[in-house]
Structures are given as C-alpha cells and as structure tokens.
C-alpha cells in the first residue's frame, strides 16, 4: 500500500481512472447524505436524484440546449473579437518594446477595473441584446488575453531570435517564422484559460440583465424557487467547462506535439 504514497511518484493508469471516479462518487454520496438526513429542506438542497431529473426535464421541456447554445454564441461573439485583436497585438507588443511601452499602461489600467463595473454602461449604450453580452465578454477577456499573449511572445528565447538574425532573416520573417510558431502553444494555453473566465462573465451578465441564456435561467429558477434547476444548470456549466478544457488539451497535443509541454 505504501508504494502508492511515494513523494511525486505517478500512479498506474487504472489507478488514476478509479481514483477520479471515486472522488466524484464520495462527493455525490456526501451530498445525498446531507440532503436526506441533514435536516435541510429540499427547497434549499435537492438530492442528486432530483437534480438529475431536473436536468432531463430542462432539456426536454424548457429548451435548455437552446439557452446553452445562445450563451455559447454570445461568448464566441466577444471571445472571437478579443482573439482576433489580441493575436497580432500580442505579437507586436511582445516583440517590440516600443509598442509595449506605448500600450501597456493603458491595458493594465483597464485590466484592473472589474469588468462587471462596465455592465451598467454597456446596457446604457447597447441595450440588453447579444451585442451587449458580446461586448461584456470582450471587455472582460481582451485585456487579460492580451497581457497573457504579450508574456508568451516575450518568452521566446533570445537564442532563437539571434539564430534567425544570423541566418539572415528579415524582421518580418523572424516574426512570422520564429516568434509566431514558437508562441502558438502558449497562445492556445492562454486561450484555454480565458475561455473559462468568459463563461463566468456571461453568466454574470445574463443574471444582471437578460431575457434568455443560461444566466437568465439561474435567476428565473431562483425567482420561482426551483432550486433543483439551479443545481442542474450549475452542474451542466461545470461539465461544459470540463469538456471544453479537454478539447483544448486534445487540440494542443495534436497541433503542438513538438513542444516541451506536450510530453
């Protein structure tokens, strides 16, 4: 038994799978025990079984899938805009001190303002439609994404850049054929991290002002004391997060098999 408890020693694959499920199982059992015997009312804490029924019910009769897709669409709206802008800007600001010094104070200033503080303003300017949600996502994602991208680009080893110079590469060629390929894995990593953040902010934005979407569903459920629905939505959001993370990791291992992290 002690052989499973060596410091930093990896476990066999089967053990990993069993433990992963075991952790979840223990959580569900505890939840069940507290819900059933813990002297809490069902309107505050539904049992796991009730939550599963709520999930099925939401998908069957309340167009849950549509709500999820709508929220996802809003995320992508703001996220894509952030990505399209941050991608070249990251390359530029990470490579040239000139642009970095020009832009960084401004970006950091915006970054330190909680994105939620902009929500009332966006409602005033853009209403409460998809565009406003996209803009909230953009405001909450873009500055962070840019800072992460700049960091990734700044970490391209000087040695690779000097080698390019020695081989006679022009500036543009160095950027496109050395800095860019080396930065792509880091870019994807940053994107993955920020995608999780985007989910957080779409829920917040939809809870504050919306007539549709996952966040709206949570607020609705609270209003009508459908606690099991709140649980259902939370669990589904968690699962979506888990799967998108796996998807990103899979893409990473396929595209960037050559990088150190891929191993």
């Amino acid at each position: 038994m002690t052989k499973y408890f060596d410091v930093k020693k990896p476990l066999p694959k089967l053990g990993v799978v069993i433990l992963s499920f075991l952790g979840i199982l223990i959580f569900i059992i505890l939840w069940n025990l507290i819900a059933k015997f813990g002297n809490v009312k069902t309107i505050f804490l539904p049992t796991p079984t009730e939550t599963v029924y709520a999930i099925i019910n939401l998908f069957q009769y309340h167009g849950f899938l549509g709500e999820i897709l709508l929220s996802l669409y809003r995320i992508l709206l703001g996220f894509m805009a952030s990505l399209v802008l941050a991608f070249p800007l990251g390359l530029l600001l990470g490579s040239f001190d000139f642009f970095k010094n020009l832009m960084e104070p401004l970006v950091n200033f915006i970054r330190y303002i909680p994105p939620v503080a902009f929500i009332p303003l966006t409602i005033l300017w853009f209403g409460i439609g998809d565009l406003q949600k996209g803009i909230v996502i953009f405001i909450s994602v873009f500055p962070y994404l840019l800072v992460l991208f700049i960091d990734v680009v700044a970490r391209v080893p000087q040695e690779h850049i000097d080698t390019a110079k020695a081989l006679g590469f022009s500036r543009t060629r160095t950027l496109l054929y050395v800095v860019l390929p080396y930065s792509l894995p880091g870019y994807l990593d940053a994107t993955r991290a920020m995608f999780g953040t985007a989910w957080t902010f779409i829920i917040v934005a939809e809870m504050i002002a919306a007539s549709q979407g996952v966040g709206f569903l949570i607020i609705q459920s609270q209003r009508f004391i459908k606690t099991e629905n709140i649980f259902a939505v939370i669990i589904i959001i968690g699962l979506i997060g888990l799967f998108s993370d796996l998807l990103f990791k899979w893409i990473y291992s396929k595209l960037f098999f050559w990088s150190d992290k891929a191993k």
Binding site: P157, E159, H160, D162, T163, K165, A166, L167, G168, F169, R173, Y177, V178, P181, Y182, L184, F256, F257, W258, S259, D260, A262, K263
Partner: protein
C-alpha cells in the same frame, strides 16, 4: 602572397552598465582570423568570451575598438558569418530537414533540397530527416543546429562553447565530427571555450584570455600534426601543451571563481611568477621536486602582469613574486614594504631597443616616437637616455604592450621601441629595423625574487628552504644544461629549440650570486642606479638605498 585577414578585432573593449556598476567584459582585445583557419579563444568561465563572440558576429557593437570583416567594419549580423550560440537548439516546431532548410529560403526548391541532403549526410542524420527535435538525443539535436548553420554556407563559423552541455564521450565525437567537417568544407572556424583540451584538439591557433575584463594574454600556435585523432589527446606533445595552458589559465580561473588563493593549500609557499625563460628555474625546481626534497610545499601561480603580481603580494594571495628592480622600487614607493630575497637571471641581450634602420646612433632618437611597455621596458629606455644625457622630454614615449610595440614597428607607426623575446626576433625579421642597444651591452635588468617584510619575518624557515631549493635548481641548470632546458620548455609551451633561442640573451644566476645577496656589490649598485633614474624621471618620489630593499 600575403594572406587576407577574414575577420579582425582591433582593441575591442566592451563595457556594460549593470545595476549602476560598470562591468568591463572585454578589454583591448585584438585578434585576426585568416581563411581556413581553426582558432580557439580559451579562458575561464565568465571571462567575457560570450560578449566577445557576439561582437565578432556583429550582434553587439563594441564600446571601444572595432570588428571588421573582409576589411569592412561590421555593424550588424552578416549571413556570411555564422554563429552557434552557447545553448544552441534547433527550432522545435520544424523537422530536421525543415531546420536545415530554414536559412535557405532565398534558394529555389531544388537548390534547397540539394543543400539539405548534403548537410544531412555530413552530420549523419539522413535517416532522421522527418523527425522532430524532441524525438532526438541531445547530441543529435546539437548536430541539427550545427547543420542549420553550416547549410547557410557562411565563410566563417563562430561557435560559443558548442559542446559544453554534452557528456565527455559525445563531446569527443562531436569534436572529431567538427574536424572532419572542416576537412570537407574548409570553413574558417572560431571556437570559444573554457575547455583547454578542446581548444588544443581543434585549433591551429589558441588565444588565451584572462578573467574579467577578458584580455588576450597569449597567442599560441598549435603545431600538433593534423588530421587529429582522439588518441592524440594522450600524446606527449598534447599533454605538454595542455600543461602550459593550464599554468597560464589557473590563476585566471581562481580569479574568475572568486576563490582566494589563501584558502587553497594554506600551508604552501605561494609563488607568483610570469611564464618566461628567466623564471623557468623556479618551475624547474617544481618539476625536479627540489622543493619537496627540501621539505617545502610550494604552489606556483602564473600571474603575467607586473601589476597583478604586485597586488597579489600586497593582499597576501602570494608570498613571493618574481619581478625586476624597477618594479620593486615603484612598489616600495607606493608603500608596499618589500624585500629582495634572491636573483634568478640577468638579461644579457634578450631585451633591446629596436629602431628603424635610418636611426644610426642613440642621439638620433631625439624627437622620435619610441614605444615602451610600463615596467622594465620603460626603465631600460630611461637608462639609455640617462646614459646618453638625453632629456626624457626630447623623446616621444608611447606606452603600449610588447606585441603592440612589435606590430607598431612593423607598421611604421613608431620609430622604435624596447622589446624582448620572442617579439624581438620576430619584429626584426618582418621590418627594416635593427638593435640599437641591448642588455648585452647594458645588463641593468636582472630578474629578482621579492617578498614582503611581514612575510619574511613570519615564514623565515620556509623562505630559507625556498632559497636552498632555488639555488639547487640554478646549479642544476649550470651542470645539466641540456636536460634542464628540455624540462623547462614544457610548462612554457615551447620546444627545447625555441627555449634555447630565447635563453641566448639570458644568463641564469647561481649559488655565487645568491649566496650573500646583501653584500652582492653588483645588485647594490644596480639598486642605487635604478633608484636614481626612476627618481629623476619622476616615477618615484624619493631615492632608496640598497639597504632599504635587501
């Protein structure tokens, strides 16, 4: 036909500002590299080698001095100058062939393919062309980045510690590979390394560099036969050369590593000397175990510059040093309480004032530019001026180092200079110049051994043994000239023949001269004389009598 210099550094000095401190990485580095040559710059870790190589490749503009490639000043990286950086890695996102082709984008697809195949074959990775770097071993990866640089077909390739991260076996293989690549491509190669063995194995010429600020202290022509095989590393000649460079570099490594000499073998008597034939008797004492036989533990540290030896004596890093009377007086004048405890040799022709052929007599040097190095070379000129009653201000004295004086005479930048071997013979051969006056006629600069009065009191017994052993060594030279010359030549890195030529102008002193150094009339006279000349020239502020130094 005179060969064209390919890459040249002229007095390159690199200074950085690091946290408000100025750090001098290189100082006055001059070197020239000819086509098809393999050159190494060897020095202790952290002596500014990487800074120098970056300057040579055009990545870094020197603070002072210049680098020129094919006689044109180099202001930016040039694809004709390839460079392999210290932690060189292939581009990880490209395959082996993609890496090799990465610098060839200007060529047609066919050309690219041909080049890639050629260099894949040279580095022996044809079977791995489609693999990515992460699938290869460390040595293979280094071969890929080597091929990437070679495929660009630069005229000269600079390599900064290229194999330092490899295990010794792979390293040897890579060195052999380098030599066979050289045979195949006839590229000019410049290695920068801290590995003496590597430098000897690979190169035709070795520049020895001091620790910060990195200065070239010695240039060695490596005549070991080529092609070189790994077995040669065990040959006698190889080991002799290694021994020599080891002597040169040891003190520098200690300096670079910030290790105080006092902490290494604290009980040993430490001798600071410059590697030159006149001092070889001390090295002979070591080689013949004469010190050991007298129950004395000694450690010899080569400190090439007078300044370094004196400061080592001052801070107690060494107990005794070799020097000349003029330097001893200047040190005394600066407040260092020194004492002369022995004489090693007398220059009888190996130092001389060399002048342009149109200068007929000593009086003619009035108004002329004369190069001298600070130290006895300067003193010798002062002595000549004094003897011929010429005012110091009537001659244009220019301070430079030995090698510079030689090249300045050859290039006619100066009209004459005080030089010593081997530059003396060398310069005479390459220029229209002649010896005007030498130490043969004017034997005024004997080699002496000094210590501090403090040390003299504390280590009386050890110094007594040291004197006995040194006299034994000097007597051995007198009695076994042939054998001793052979033994002394090795640590100096020269052949017995060269040693003989160098010692033609040197007379080793022996028992007689050392027996009673206090009452040695000749030394007493020379001290008085030297003191007078230095005092008149304003080099020292007071006159010293022999009793103050003996």
């Amino acid at each position: 036909m005179k060969r064209q210099i390919l890459l040249e550094a002229r007095n390159v000095t690199n200074i950085f500002l690091k946290k408000n401190l100025t750090v001098e990485a290189n100082k006055n580095v001059s070197l020239e590299i000819y086509p098809n040559e393999i050159v190494s710059i060897v020095g202790p870790s952290g002596c500014g080698k990487t800074t120098l190589i970056k300057s040579l490749a055009g990545f870094l503009q020197p603070t002072k001095g210049s680098v020129s490639y094919k006689n044109k000043v180099l202001n930016s990286p040039n694809p004709e100058i390839g460079i392999i950086f210290q932690n060189h890695k292939p581009f990880p996102w490209l395959t082996v062939e993609g890496n090799i082709a990465s610098g060839l984008y200007k060529l047609s697809k066919d050309e690219q393919e041909k080049r890639v195949n050629k260099y894949l074959k040279i580095i022996g990775l044809s079977d791995f062309r489609k693999e990515y770097p992460h699938q290869l071993s460390g040595g293979m990866r280094q071969r890929v980045s080597l091929a990437r640089a070679l495929a660009n077909e630069p005229n000269i390739l600079l390599l900064d510690e290229p194999f330092s991260s490899l295990d010794p076996q792979t390293k040897t293989l890579m060195q052999e590979l380098m030599l066979s690549i050289w045979e195949e491509t006839q590229k000019t190669l410049l290695f920068v390394t801290h590995d003496i063995e590597e430098a000897i194995f690979l190169s035709d010429k070795i520049y020895v560099m001091s620790s910060k600020p990195g200065e070239i202290t010695k240039v060695i022509d490596n005549l070991l036969p080529k092609p070189r095989l790994a077995e040669q590393k065990l040959s006698e000649e190889f080991i002799n050369l290694r021994k020599h460079i080891n002597y040169l570099i040891r003190s520098e490594s200690l300096k670079a590593a910030q290790i105080n000499l006092q902490t290494i073998r604290p009980h040993a008597l430490k001798i600071g000397l410059h590697l030159w034939v006149g001092n070889a008797s001390l090295i002979l004492g070591q080689e013949l175990d004469l010190f050991k036989k007298n129950n004395l533990e000694v450690q010899i540290i080569s400190l090439e510059k007078d300044k370094d030896r004196l400061s080592a004596l001052e801070d107690g890093s060494v107990d005794i040093i070799t020097t000349t009377i003029d330097m001893a007086l200047i040190a005394k004048n600066k407040g260092l309480d020194i004492k002369i405890i022995g004489v090693t040799d007398e220059s009888t022709g190996s130092d001389a004032l060399l002048v342009n052929n149109n200068i007929k007599q000593v009086k003619d040097i009035i108004g002329k530019r004369i190069g001298v190095e600070r130290g006895w070379s300067h003193f010798f000129l002062l002595h000549i001026l004094d003897k011929n009653k010429i005012n110091i201000s009537d001659v244009r004295i220019e301070f430079m180092n030995n090698a510079e004086i030689g090249s300045a005479i050859i290039n006619k930048r100066i009209d004459g200079g005080v030089l010593w071997e081997p530059w003396l013979t060398h310069t005479k051969k390459l220029s229209n110049s002649k010896t005007l006056i030498s130490t043969e006629e004017e034997p005024v600069i004997p080699g002496i051994i000094i210590t501090t009065n403090d040390c003299f009191e504390k280590k009386k017994e050890q110094l007594q043994k040291f004197s006995t052993a040194t006299i034994e060594a000097l007597e051995y030279i007198k009695n076994n000239p042939k054998e001793s010359k052979k033994l002394m030549a090795i640590p100096l890195g020269i052949s017995t023949k060269e040693f003989e030529i160098s010692t033609m102008g040197v007379t080793f002193l022996g028992r007689k001269e050392n027996k009673n150094i206090f009452s040695n009339e000749k030394i007493r006279k020379l001290i008085t004389h030297t003191s007078k000349i230095l005092y008149n020239a304003g080099e020292i502020k007071q006159n010293y009598s022999p009793d103050e130094l003996l």
